[in-house]
Amino acid sequence: MSGFLQQVVNGLSIGSVYALMAVGYSLVYSIMNFSNFAHGGVIMIGAYIGYFCLTLLNVPFFVAFLLSAIGSGLLAVSMERVVYRPLRKRNAPFLYFIISAMGASIFLENIVIASPIGPTFRTYPAIFSTTPIMLGNIALGRIDLLMFVISTVSLAALIYIIEKTKIGLSIRATSYNIKGSTLMGVNVDMVIFIIFAMGGILAGLAGMLFGMKYTVYPQIGNITTKSFIAAVFGGLGSLQGAVVGSILLGLIETMVSGYFSSQYRDLIAFALLIFVLVAKPTGLMGKNTEDKA
């Protein structure tokens, strides 16, 4: 039984990182209807900012978190300006957005490799001891707890903004119908600026948490494949869906590795996802735009 609970803890901790990354995809998709594959690049840059803040500037841990969130937010916003806004103004097809996003992601990865930072991976200084907190036989990693807390708090804050504030109202309005909300006086440029900023800030937090837990290297962004799939699983465009999808994916992966075989982890996890999507194409909690349009 303790083995099972340990696997649940493992699954939740993996799932909470997926969740932080997955909401970035969902935010952008809910407004712009394309998958921002450059999100992985922003996460990677966030991880590097946090790393260099801690090692070169020697700032306290929470300041590094803040700087990493701000830096990634700025990066995401400027990418929107440079890469997506020109396409948007020309009403380019969605395919162009996706291709540009992929290009931006490859660009970010290679610019880090070509820069003095280089391709080697780096390790965050040890901030927390690896000695776990024991609850009976269940080990809780200190970084895992921190990840879980930060993920929960920031996701709760995000959902609060979307559901309860005026900005959130315009974001929701835009996600239902861009043209309609423009006519009603919503500043769509502003809405898009804000979703990229929020997505970028979360990406910075996710990147730094991921870097602390594992390590920092230019290909970190690849992990977002998993969180992208989690976002689709939960229902692209739905924040709650992204969170639920991520936690479920984390748990499924862990349970398959723990009770079946780690070699079949991805096979079984993704077969299950395909099954869900075939049965319910909008994902678990996806919005059905047909009804609302």
Binding site: T130, N222, S257, S262
Partner: protein, 387 residues
Amino acid sequence: MRKKVLSLVSVLLILTMLLSACGGKTSAPAEETIKIGWIGSLTGDQAVWGTCESNTIKMLIEEVNAKGGILGKQVEGIYYDTKGDAAEAVNATKRLITQDGVVAILGPNASGQAISISAALEQYKVPDIATVATNPKVTVNDDGTVKGYNFRVCFIDPYQGAVAAGYAYDKLGLKNAAVLYDVASDYSQGFTEYFEKTFTEKGGKIVAKEGFKEGDVDFRPQLSKIKEANPDVILMPYYYKEVALSANQARELGIEATLMGGDGWPSDQLMTMAKDAIEGSYIVNHLDFNDPEVKPLQDAYKAKYNLSMELNGYMANDAFLLLQAAITAANSTDPVKITEALTQVSVEGVTGTIQLSEENHNPVGKQAAIVKIENGGYVFQEKYGVE
């Protein structure tokens, strides 16, 4: 304005692609030089090692050229990045042979890449000396016959696996072993297979065997399963990045078993990442880093690059010395004659005497060094070999 920004972005994109494509090119070759190729990872997880290998060879070539070269000719090194990818390794090999006209190739360090280039070597009849490619199939075919143009200066996985098993059971008295291994790596599989074989033959028990795939960063599901099997020792036969992550995660889960590994472990990065988690672990390695005989090479490298030398540097050094001796003995730059000479010569390398067997192109009678990790350093225990 918008167009300008767009074109700027596209120019930058193209530049990045060009930069990454041209990573290893050197200037136009002069006649009358002996060209030696090197392939290995200059980017990716194993970049630390590839960089060290190519640096070492650059340093050695400079030294040799300052002393008048080989056979009176200057030596030129050509270095290509395989990005840790077997297909890239084949492309790099073909380019080295057909476009650059090298007489022999050094590297790669990884077995998967070394195995994949065999056909190309066979086709163009140019020899390759792998550095740390320890899988048996690097130099022999599936039917046991030796490959004509693949050589190596390191011992092989069965030997590493057998040594680890023998040492754990006989010397450390550990009876229950668990294995966590990389299912996608030839190195990890070979190592695991022979560890299991020797360990169970001696009377030990494999209580858990769990796999993962290269690129994974979370091993807790597997480790939680291993924890329930309660082993005395966990074998971690893979590379330092995964070792650091999995060792840290094992300790986080409260696993206290002794950890053991092979030549994939030693790296400065490992110490920065997992110093506490791997304290008291044992590694099977190719040499003792504190051996006075390896000091001059270490110092020269440190002075030139201000980096500490990785294991791969020592192996690259021995591979280069062997090739130099073979070219001299063949008294020719003909790749086929060099190939013949490779099994005829014997050199004193930093990892021991290197004499390659004609039957399997592996070095004969190399013992392994057992190293224990204590206080963030490598403490040599003893030279240990098994039959």
